[in-house]
């Protein structure tokens, strides 16, 4: 009786293709840092894909992998570590995290919402609240709740491997230098000590060691700061969505048009805005019909073209009820200017310019609806001029420009020149897709 599930294509070929999409040097892999459209779920899928691909290929070559380094103790890093422990029972995995705790971005973050696939909306299944991942699965919630789910599952999943001495964790790693050529890491950090479901930093340790494989799950680095208008990280708690208590109207400038900026715009302009509920609020019981009709628009959006004109054409057919509902919920206690001029060589001059694929389809749709509700004033002037005219307090200027991920990755290497071409190719290819490539049932859990 056959028990093995087989996809129609050859898993080995698929694994080989996946492996090349992550490789930046022989035995050195980068998860997602240079991809666009990055989400927690997407990073976890990439981690599963990579570890599965390496496992398939190692099986074929009868290769024994012992020492594996995972750089980054966020959700992607923990997923890569757990997947490795699950599939390679003899592997010794070392995880390096710069902060003093794991999942440092999301821990304690109560004002941001995480949903596995909502940024894939209106794709079928995108609203389902569960990530449905075999390793470190989680369900929608506040970022702090999701971090808690992940940390508890990681502790449980890794427990038998820790007991065998197969997992070492380093926290507060303030010195970490990787040689891609030698597959060697030099570090100074604190040994992570299991403490219930979590880990705490123990004694400091400095070491240099050669690894069989290095997996970089370093995320994206901290967001770029405007020199004159520093803004707390997207993952720090803030009060934008809370009604003003002084009865006054407060004005804000939001600069940027990526997902972070657009979520902040929604929080500032929509009464009772909840990222988890807004689609149901706007489309109600018609949501599935609306999704089916919006899907072709979404597919067009993925080509990178501006979807502004398509949304204009769609409005009378699909968006009138949503617009009516949203008009009734525009906040009266805030005024928002959305600064959209762009940075670098690309200068935007009109609203349709920001409807390319620099943000999720959902957020672009919300941006369009907010624009039609007159909820914000778009501005294409230089930021300094906008801020001068706005004359609000410094904290009312919110700059969301995203991080310089290339510099972030290269900083970890002593021989960054050896990987520059591979990094450039990864950034151009954008091929680390969020599709589940692993064979169903391969991950022990």
């Amino acid at each position: 009786m056959t028990k093995r599930l087989k996809s129609e294509d050859d898993p080995l070929k698929r694994a080989s293709s996946v492996e090349t999409k992550f490789r930046i040097h022989k035995g050195v892999y980068l998860i997602g840092s240079l991809e666009r459209g990055v989400t927690v779920y997407g990073q976890q899928v990439r981690a599963h894909n990579l570890v599965w691909a390496l496992w398939e290929l190692d099986k074929k070559e009868a290769k024994e992998v012992v020492d594996v380094a995972v750089v980054g103790g966020g959700i992607a890093g923990l997923t890569a570590a757990a997947c490795t422990l699950g599939l390679f029972p003899n592997a010794k995995v070392a995880v390096f995290e710069r902060s003093w705790d794991l999942c440092p971005l999301q821990q304690g973050c109560d004002s941001r919402w995480l949903h596995p696939r909502i940024y894939g909306w209106p794709e079928p299944g995108s609203r389902a609240p569960s990530a449905s991942l075999p390793v470190l699965n989680w369900q929608e919630g506040r970022a702090s709740d999701v971090a808690d789910q992940i940390l508890r599952r990681f502790a449980k999943y890794s427990e038998p491997h820790r007991a065998k001495g197969n997992l070492r964790l380093y926290l507060g790693v303030d010195h970490l230098r990787i040689s891609a050529e030698k597959k060697d890491i030099e570090w100074i950090g604190r040994v992570g000590i299991p403490d219930g479901h979590f880990f705490r930093a123990g004694d400091a340790e400095g070491q240099s060691k050669k690894f069989d494989r290095i997996v970089l799950a370093m995320g994206f680095g901290m967001e770029a700061q405007h020199p004159d208008h520093p803004t707390p990280s997207y993952w720090r708690n803030e009060e934008y969505a809370q009604p003003a208590l002084d009865g006054m109207t407060h004005s804000y400038v939001v600069s940027g048009y990526g997902d972070g900026a657009l979520i902040d715009l929604c929080r500032l302009t929509i009464e009772r805005f909840r990222q988890d509920r807004i689609l149901d609020d706007l489309f109600g019981r018609d949501i599935e019909k609306t999704e089916a009709q919006l899907l072709p628009v979404c597919k067009e959006a993925r080509t990178g073209k501006s979807i502004f004109d398509v949304l204009v054409a769609t409005e009378s057919k699909l968006l009138t009820d949503a617009l009516r509902g949203l008009r009734g919920r525009i906040r009266k206690d805030t005024q928002a200017i959305l600064h959209l001029s762009g940075k670098g060589a690309k200068k935007n001059t009109a609203l349709p310019d920001v409807f390319g694929n620099t943000s999720s389809f959902m957020n672009r749709l919300l941006l369009y609806l907010l624009y039609r509700c007159g909820a914000f004033a778009p501005s294409f002037e230089p930021l300094d001029k906008v801020v001068r005219e706005h004359s609000g307090p410094p904290e009312s200027v919110i700059c969301r420009y995203g991080p310089d991920t290339m510099a972030h990755v290269k900083r970890a290497f002593v021989d960054a020149a050896n990987i520059q071409t591979a990094l450039d190719n990864l950034r151009t290819a954008q091929s680390q897709q969020m599709r589940r490539e692993w064979e169903p049932g391969c991950f022990p859990n």
């Binding site: 028990k3 093995r4 299944g125 064979e439 859990n445």
Partner: protein
């Protein structure tokens, strides 16, 4: 060398989906078992699920059986859509069960031949003797769920009245879930799957000992198109 496993590890099924079927399965199991606490009987449900455009059967929950009332180890396992008797029920949209044999020896002789034909090299002494698979169809005739039961009892599901009663229970489950689709509980919703390209393996239903049952209408949902209940904030 990296360890090999049998690729039969589970992929998650939302707890709400599991909870939605467990009381029903407990009732089916209780009915089938009757007063015999030692009887070797297992009952579970499989759902049609789409993963990246490919459709599989996935075990919704663990087996309801004698040793542990709910053994979660099987929950989430994925199978080709033509796997065993449940796959045959899924593909043919038809109830299947182990046919009546006058004696256990005659059944075992037929089972031995069926195992050869399907390439099953397992130990016949460990094979169960009676199987039942009941598909639940959706409004467009698509199979949504398959109830699976097996036991070491001889001639168990060949009993017409017993099978009829289980089919009737399945109809009751369909009516309840349809009502919940119409008027769902707050924060508990069915996040439907799309139909996908069916992933098939080798046909492994025992060709001789299992029979189609056409006498009873196949349980059917009027509203439910796929089964994926999840707790949700919205």
């Amino acid at each position: 060398m990296a360890s090999r496993n049998d690729l039969r590890n589970p992929e998650p099924v939302p707890p709400a989906s599991q909870l939605a079927v467990l009381p029903f399965l407990a009732a089916v199991e209780g009915f089938l078992r009757g007063p015999d606490p030692q009887m070797e009987l297992r009952v579970t449900l499989h759902r049609a699920m789409n993963r990246e455009g490919q459709e599989y059967l996935q075990q919704v929950c663990g087996y309801l059986g004698p040793e542990r009332k709910e053994d979660r180890s099987g929950s989430g396992r994925m199978f080709p859509v033509n796997f065993g008797i449940m796959g045959a029920a899924f593909e043919r949209s038809c109830i299947l069960r182990t046919r009546h044999y006058p004696t256990k020896d005659e059944l075992l002789a037929a089972l031995r031949e069926d195992m050869k034909r399907t390439g099953d090299t397992g130990d016949i002494s460990k094979r169960r003797l009676s199987w039942l698979a009941i598909p639940f169809l959706g409004p467009e005739e698509q199979p949504v769920l398959v109830l699976f039961a097996d036991t070491f009892e001889f001639d168990f599901f060949a009993n017409h009245e017993r099978t009829r009663a289980v089919v009737n229970m399945c109809w009751g489950f369909c009516r309840l879930i349809d009502a919940l689709e119409e008027d769902p509980f707050p924060n508990l919703r069915n996040f439907a799957f799309q139909a996908g390209k069916k992933v098939k393996g080798v046909d492994t239903v025992y060709p001789t000992i299992q029979e189609e049952v056409r006498e009873f209408p196949v349980p059917r949902f009027q509203r439910l198109r796929s089964f994926n209940y999840e707790a949700s904030v919205s």
